[in-house]
Structure formats: structure tokens, C-alpha cells
Amino acid sequence: MNVLALDTTLGACSAAVARGEPDAPDTTGAFELREREHAEAIIPMIEHVLTDAGIGYEDLDAIAVTTGPGSFTGVRVGIATARGLALALDLPLIGATSLEVMARKALEKINDAPDVLGVVVDARRGQVYMAVFDGSGSTRSVPEALTPERAVTRLPEGGHTVLVGGGAELVRQASADPKALQVVLPDLQPDAQMLARMAMTRTPEREPLRPLYLRPPDAKPQSGKAIPRRD
């Protein structure tokens, strides 16, 4: 099985291929920190990774992509690219949230597995995107857009709690007992190489893959600008 994975949701751009046995795949990937212009970088990066892996599009069995949360535009760049590839190659899609990919990456890097892992991204405008996992990477609370104060309430009491990601410090400071929370890997980003490995053991989506925005669009209904009408 060969899976191509890509991520453009947050502050990085990455593409990777996983090959071989689902439980112990070989991976080839490219990763760069990047706040902007994911749309320019991602296709050349995918082509580069395929060349590095010594395979072509025709050798692929599935396309995996992070569905969000992240910047609205970044999320759509990834989904549009993945859906375009899947359409042109007649391949199934596999989606994973940016936060669960970050969680798996964090658990690999942290030596002592925590009891509770909060993956937190600064969502700006006074909010964070957060999901909570246990020490094995299983989801305990799904991704949400929350104020740091609300985010604290999503963390289970007791046990060794670790927060990772660019919004981790915001949540720690909003806690009544900041010392009880440990912040590590504040620069953590999603990575297609981890996503590709995760996708090897996942069942493809049956429904079209949709972005996970977590926030409504910025738009206010039109009101009261019209001149009054008599009839």
C-alpha cells in the first residue's frame, strides 16, 4: 500500500509518501515551516517527494490530508488539492485533523507519556483550537474553538497533563493552577510524514472530505440600509 499525504493547515507545508506494511511503513517526506503561500509550494513539494520515493502518481492507493482546524485558506488549499488528486487518479481520500496529527507527533517526541495531552493552536481573536488526547493518542475531547478559560475546563483533573502547540501557553496561563500544567513543543506543527503513517491503518472516507473550520464565516446579514417603502 502506498499513501500520499499532505498538510497546509497551519504554519508549515509538508508532503509525504508512506509505503509497505501498514504497521511499519517506510516514509519519505518534505517539510518546511511556512506561514504563507502554501498554494505555491505544495504541488512542487508533492512531485519532489514522489520522485524521492521513486514512485509515480499511478502507484498510489490513497490520498491523505489534514482537514483542519487551521487557517481557513490553508485548510481549503489542502482539501482542494487532495480532492483534485483523488478525482484525477480515482483514489480514495483519508482525512485526519491537524490536531490529532500533532498529538501523534508530540507523543513520539515526549519521553514520558503524559496522562493527558492537550494540543492547542492559537486561533487569534481570543480563542484557541484545542483537542485533548490520552497518553496513547486516543481522543478524549474533539477539536473545538474555545477561549483559553473554556479550554482549561476541557482538561481532565488529575494525572500528568502536558500541553503542546503555539496556543499551549495561553491555556496554561488561563488555568487556576498554571504550575500543574506543563508546556512543551510550543513550535509543534502538523507533519504529512506522521499523517501518511497514520493513514496506512485507516479506512478511507465514504463521504466527500470536508474542511473542519470550527468557526462560522465572518459575515453579518444586511440590515436596515434600504429606504422605507410605502407599498
Binding site: T73, R76, A88, P221, A226, I227, R230
Partner: protein, 354 residues
Amino acid sequence: MLGIETSCDETAAAVVLRTGPQQGKILSNIVRAQLDDHAAYGGVVPEIAARAHVEVLDVLVAQALSETGLSWDELDGIAATAGPGLLGGVLVGLMTAKAIASARGLPFVAVNHLEAHALTPGLTDGLAPPYLLLLVSGGHTQLLIVHDLGAYERLGTTLDDALGEAFDKTAKLLGLPYPGGPEVEKCAADGDPSRFDLPRPLMGREAPDFSFAGLKTALRRQAEQHSPLSNQDVADLCASFQQAVGDVIVDRTATAINLFEKRVASMKDRNLVVAGGVAANQALRARLAQLCEKKNFVFHVPPASLCTDNGAMVAWAGAERLSRGLTDGFEFPARARWPLDPDAAPKIGAGVKA
């Protein structure tokens, strides 16, 4: 050639066959408008538009291809609008096109949305450049000489609002439903165009530019004076607005025709093309047709479905570019502003519209 268009509130995909210069045939042309998504807001909301594009575009592309009975390998290239337009939406079409082209090993062509409008008469009327183009839509109002593919000379542009925008704002002001252009035209048919005295901005000026902001303000003032408005008031306001706009368009286009005559040597090329969503307005078309008759120009208007945003024009422009070996790399960016005539000075009040 497959063409993808997502720069505003229409999601569109089409396949066009090009058999030679100014010879083409539309094999499929799928457009999904998002009117209902934006109606409550009285205008296009960029983020809502982008979200809607990404939900349906791949389905429309699949449909556009399957209607032709062609396989991916029978296509010669993939084209998408890369700007100008609403970036969130443009990126959806651009990335879908890049992904397909990369996956199938096909040439990719990044198309300028304005160029797609500008070249449409080649597909619909077999018209070869040079010709004079009046491009009037919700996002643009320009007069251009189309000298050749890729060679455009801007004679005039709006300095503030686009004409379609002026129609939409008028409709909003008068409490008419969205989209406003067709509603204003409908109401104007029952109105007295001489009842309200509205300004004709920039009329008689040497450069064929446009300005609609002052007209909109004058309309608001007149409407406020007669508030609350009767149905007849609304009809008369719409008719007076459309009359003023028509006067301006005819005057500015006549000025551009004079410039075209001076700058284009061959006088057999006396063609005026009107493109863009506002070209659907019958009253304006009738007045431009009259002008052309008077000036001894041939008047061309693509069918309504090819005046508003569509994928066929993008596919056609892509095919024209590909026929000259003009293809683009996958690092091509989405461009909010992408003037057809890079030598023309930007107009501050018009922002990306000029």
C-alpha cells in the same frame, strides 16, 4: 481543454474543443451559482463563497468531463482562473486544477479572468483581434483595445465602483432582492426615466473613465426625499438610474471608439464587444447597439450564459494560450489584482478593479 472558474460566486467547470484560431466548440459547461448562499447578506461574502466552492467543485469537474465522454488522457491541458477575484475562492479552483494537471501529467494554464472574458468573442463569434472591448461586471468596468492574445491596452476604467456593483447597491437601497442588477432592470421597465434628475459622472471627459459613486449618492438623496417610497417611485428611480448609466456608458464608449479609430490602423476591424454580467441588461445593450450603428461598428455580445462567469471562457482562454505554448508552473500564485494592461496606471479609488 478543461476550464475551472471560482473567482466570485459561481462555481464552474467546462470542456472546450479548440480546432483552430477563433474556432472552438463547447463540449460541456457546468455552472453552479451560489445566489441563495449570499442572498441574506445582500452581496457576495468572500468566505461563504470560498466554502461553497470547495464543497462542490470536484463534483462539477467530474460532471463536465463525463458529459463529454472523454477520458483524462484525451485532454490536452487544464486551465483555471488564477485571478483577479476573491482569493479564497480563486485558490480552490487553482489548486484543484494544479492537482489534476500534476496527477495526469497535463499542461497547466493559469488564466486571467478578464482575459477569459476578453477572448470569449473568439469562441462565440469567431472574432479575431483587434477589437474594442467594454467589460462590465460586478467587479470590473473597463474599456480595452484587444490587440492580440496577451496584448491589451486599457483606454478607461472605473475610478470607484464597478457598474454591476452600482446596480446591486441601487437595488439594496431600494429594498429590491439580491442579485440587484436584473431587479433594477425589471423595475425600470415600468418607470419614468426623466422623473429624477441624476448626475452623469465624467461625461464628456477626454479619457473614457467611469465613476459611479456620486451617482449612487445622488440616487440615495432623491430616494430619501421621497421616503417612504411607492412602487412607482421605485420604478421611476430605477428607470432614471438606468437612463443615467446608459448615457454615461454610451458617451464613454463613443469616446473609446474615437480612440480605437486613431490607434488601430486597419479600419476593417470595426468591432465592439460587450462582455461581463452587466452585458445581460437589455436596455444598455439596445443603446450600445444604436451607438454601434451610428459609428459604423459591428456590435457583439456573447450569449448571456457566456457573459456571466463560466468555465467555458476559461477553457477557451487556456486553449488559446496553450496553442501559443504559454503554460504555467505549479508555483503560480492566486492574484487578487491582475490588470490586463500592466502599463496602465492604477486608479486609487478603484483598488483591484482597475
